[in-house]
Point group: C2
Chain length 265, copies 2
Amino acid sequence: MRSIAIINQKGGVGKTTTTANLAAGIAARGKRVLAIDLDPQAHLTINLGAEPRSENSVYAILADRCTLKDAQLKVRKNLWIVPSSIDLAGAEVELVNVVGREVILRDAIEPFASKFDYLLIDCPPSLGMLTVNALTAVNEVFIPLQPHFLALQGLGKLLDDTIRLVAKRINPQLSVTGIVLTMYEGNTNLAGEVVEDVKSFFEAARGTDCPWSNARVFDAIIRRNIKLAEAPSFGLSIFDYEPRCNGALDYARLAKEVMSQMGAS
Amino acid sequence: MRSIAIINQKGGVGKTTTTANLAAGIAARGKRVLAIDLDPQAHLTINLGAEPRSENSVYAILADRCTLKDAQLKVRKNLWIVPSSIDLAGAEVELVNVVGREVILRDAIEPFASKFDYLLIDCPPSLGMLTVNALTAVNEVFIPLQPHFLALQGLGKLLDDTIRLVAKRINPQLSVTGIVLTMYEGNTNLAGEVVEDVKSFFEAARGTDCPWSNARVFDAIIRRNIKLAEAPSFGLSIFDYEPRCNGALDYARLAKEVMSQMGAS
Ligand SMILES: Nc1ncnc2c1ncn2[C@@H]1O[C@H](COP(=O)(O)OP(=O)(O)OP(=O)(O)O)[C@@H](O)[C@H]1O
Ligand SMILES: Nc1ncnc2c1ncn2[C@@H]1O[C@H](COP(=O)(O)OP(=O)(O)OP(=O)(O)O)[C@@H](O)[C@H]1O
Ligand SMILES: [Mg+2]
Ligand SMILES: [Mg+2]
């Protein structure tokens, strides 16, 4: 099973949109995909047409009240989701004194890893305990990045403070696979400048021993496209909602590129 | 002193951009403004050209290590900021067992309230202890809202669970003044539909006793404008960066509209 966390503590950069549509795109190509919603706002759950719920949810898994098998919900052919709910917002504080709190999710997924080909985890816009649980449960990280200055600001912090520490102390397998450029507006200078900055940052890390030394910017760029913002209100992936729009073409190309890589299994 | 928290737990909807440019717009019109950065990512700090710092920061205030007077930093004529830093991310857990943790910020601001005409607080994309501290320290809430479906999803939760509870238990003065429509793309149906939904939601609350019974959508709409995303990289407000662009016109109109309201003082 290939396991990927979709992370960026910057808000509104397309984490949920990428998780939902990448999961749907890979499932449509015949692989079995599990998507886990680790955001208390439960946007991935809503985006894939499911209802947020407390019982049999990712919160219930973290609170040791149910197993992954109980919590998984089939939403399409080859696509299952573990829904979220608002009680997840309390997990950060509730887990403070729990021994091994960082690996609860990893241990819950482990017995079912053989049932799926891909695991995708959507994270909230923070670097707290929920995001750390995602980072210990996967081998790969994808970082959605809107090519804006403020979005670039946090990249160093995400890599140096959080990913490096988790890789060093808990999950040595962890590495950053790539950056997904989202909401790309080709007609702005800002996008071009930020992309140059990001590419040279990762090229400078090649050959070092940090967890992002092999990371690169995915060739498939996700352009700004209002249809991507419309689809969630119908609980549909972009492929179901508007299969010939730019959003569907871009996420299909991303799915194809991701699947053609020999990711860490 | 008029005191306003800029809140929406949905990520990337323009909270920081609104706080920075509204603060600059009001200061330019001759009022003394204090802006507080309650986001560990310190984007408001960066946006107004200051450096994130641990000493004499909002974190130091919450940890009772300095006063507001020590932490404030003048960034322009009539405009002071209390900077943030990454240690603020630990405050949620560090404050768990502190008595009266919700009112630390309120009590730190109180002695200096007469020095300023406006207080604006930028909040992180969550409804945790930092946001609660902001809600107990102010009389008014502005909610920036990107007219997208996912952005609309969380509005009920913000109002019913967080604002209503803080108003009932800790801060009876608290009320929602208005919704700032941000990143508005007039050429999309989605924007029009969401705006209709939001307006009818608030009209239905008129005459009830909830904290948002007088809330309305501000007439000044902030259009999507790439200059607003460029300005932060220079540490400039939109008025300093590109005074004749749509972003500057829209935020100037918002500042004027805000100042013409009688607001709770
Ligand atoms: N390529 C795109 N073009 C246009 N709109 C988009 C695109 N990708 C995402 N959106 C919209 O932008 C908003 C932000 O995207 P999304 O919610 O996926 O970001 P996020 O990083 O998951 O946010 P959060 O930090 O709140 O979890 C949503 O309303 C979404 O529908
Ligand atoms: N009207 C606008 N037009 C174009 N870009 C904008 C506009 N307002 C904000 N932006 C850009 O969109 C991104 C998100 O805005 P901003 O950071 O202010 O949102 P936020 O709600 O504070 O995010 P967070 O939830 O991470 O704190 C930033 O890169 C910002 O520069
Ligand atoms: Mg999300
Ligand atoms: Mg912000």
